[in-house]
Symmetry: C2
Subunit: 231 residues, 2 copies
């Protein structure tokens, strides 16, 4: 793995306008991507996005994650078959117009993407000595997701698309990948270069769901107060 | 809430070197901050970081989060008392040198920070029609954490520090804030301007825990293979 690129960065100071714009661009232009170009992801780029994930916040500095990088075609084929069965079972929940939209969605690019990545959480990792975990035992899962979101945003800055596959039989996935029983696979991601980053999420574009207005889910000082107090 | 700043941004194209550096700076310089300056956070800045959170990925485009912004001093005092009791209970788990370090840690800036933010997850929100949730019911929590990490990184780009308080009695917190019983508070955050962003995490600096080497938690194609296959 290459060194992190932060050694030579200025630290602690304000961001330039362009640096700040980069952060917002990554946030707004990040997409859940399921169509990929076959071009391989260079090792140095992979190293940078994994190191970005590894610098996520974690409860008690526990760093409960592991990263399982998958390029092998036969492994990806086994995961793809797992996905196909799971998505067929999931489809049964939808009928009529909704089923039509469901069938039109592309929900995984396991075989197209040159790189797959499984991110796990180890609930029993002793690091951090339980600091912050006594009051919320799920906080190690939260740390793991912070790592995933770091990777997703760094990937966008590298012009890499990432798709998160939720529709899998996770017990079978653990068997395919040899993940120890006590660990929890949190995300199965497909990663690769793309022809485009859609302007809107696929689910918005295809009419599956609309974006909530931010004001309707923002409260002030007490739940249900949607107006700010006068200052 | 102001409009998102993305309207005028270029979309879909590559990042400039400086934009890309902004993303990595946010990732590497983000800290869990518990000491704050009293300066208020302007409404437009608050609007931008909340909108950044609101543009996180979510399972089925469910957007299961709510944002409860807390400035009221009496509410923050009640949460601070909750934290003080919880941290005293948590301290009992540590003895000797570890207890000394624990007692030296600053783990919350609830009263110092001009702004507190509770982010919740609504498991029962019908949006998204369950897409992606049949196989992993925790995926709505994951979406909520993606929103939190977006906000944390956007905050760094705005020179704002964010601290995540895990050591709270969350049932009591719900009562203080009036959060409906069915909802789950995922994060209680303190937000404000800071005197510095530490070069290292506090827990590393004070000797609570060390950073794991990335190579030791990276696997290739099958769990436990720490070497990449030859290409």
């Amino acid at each position: 793995m290459p060194d992190s690129p932060c050694g030579s960065l200025p630290s602690g100071s304000s961001f330039s306008e362009e640096e700040r714009r980069g952060v917002y661009r990554a946030i707004y232009e990040r997409r859940d991507v399921h169509s990929f170009l076959p071009d391989p992801v260079p090792d140095d780029v992979l190293g940078r996005i994994l190191d970005a994930a590894h610098h996520a916040p974690s409860v008690g500095f526990m760093q409960p994650w592991d990263f399982l990088v998958i390029r092998d075609a036969s492994v990806r084929q086994a995961v793809h078959r797992n996905f196909e069965r799971a998505t067929l079972r999931a489809a049964a929940a939808y009928a009529g117009e909704q089923r039509k939209i469901y069938d039109s969605l592309k929900l995984a690019g396991i075989l197209d993407a040159p790189l797959n990545l499984c991110v796990t959480c180890d609930h029993a990792r002793p690091k951090g000595s339980g600091l912050g975990r006594q009051t919320d035992p799920a906080s190690d899962l939260y740390s793991t997701v912070c790592a995933i979101q770091n990777l997703w945003l760094a990937a966008r800055a590298e012009s890499l698309g990432v798709g998160w596959i939720s529709i899998l039989d996770f017990e079978e996935l653990k068997a395919i990948l040899g993940i120890p029983a006590a660990l929890r696979p949190v995300a199965y991601l497909c990663i690769g270069y793309v022809t485009e980053f859609r302007r809107q999420p696929q689910l918005e574009e295809k009419g599956w769901e609309t974006r909530t207005g931010l004001a309707s889910i923002t409260h002030f000082d007490h739940w249900g107060n949607h107006q700010q107090a006068a200052k």
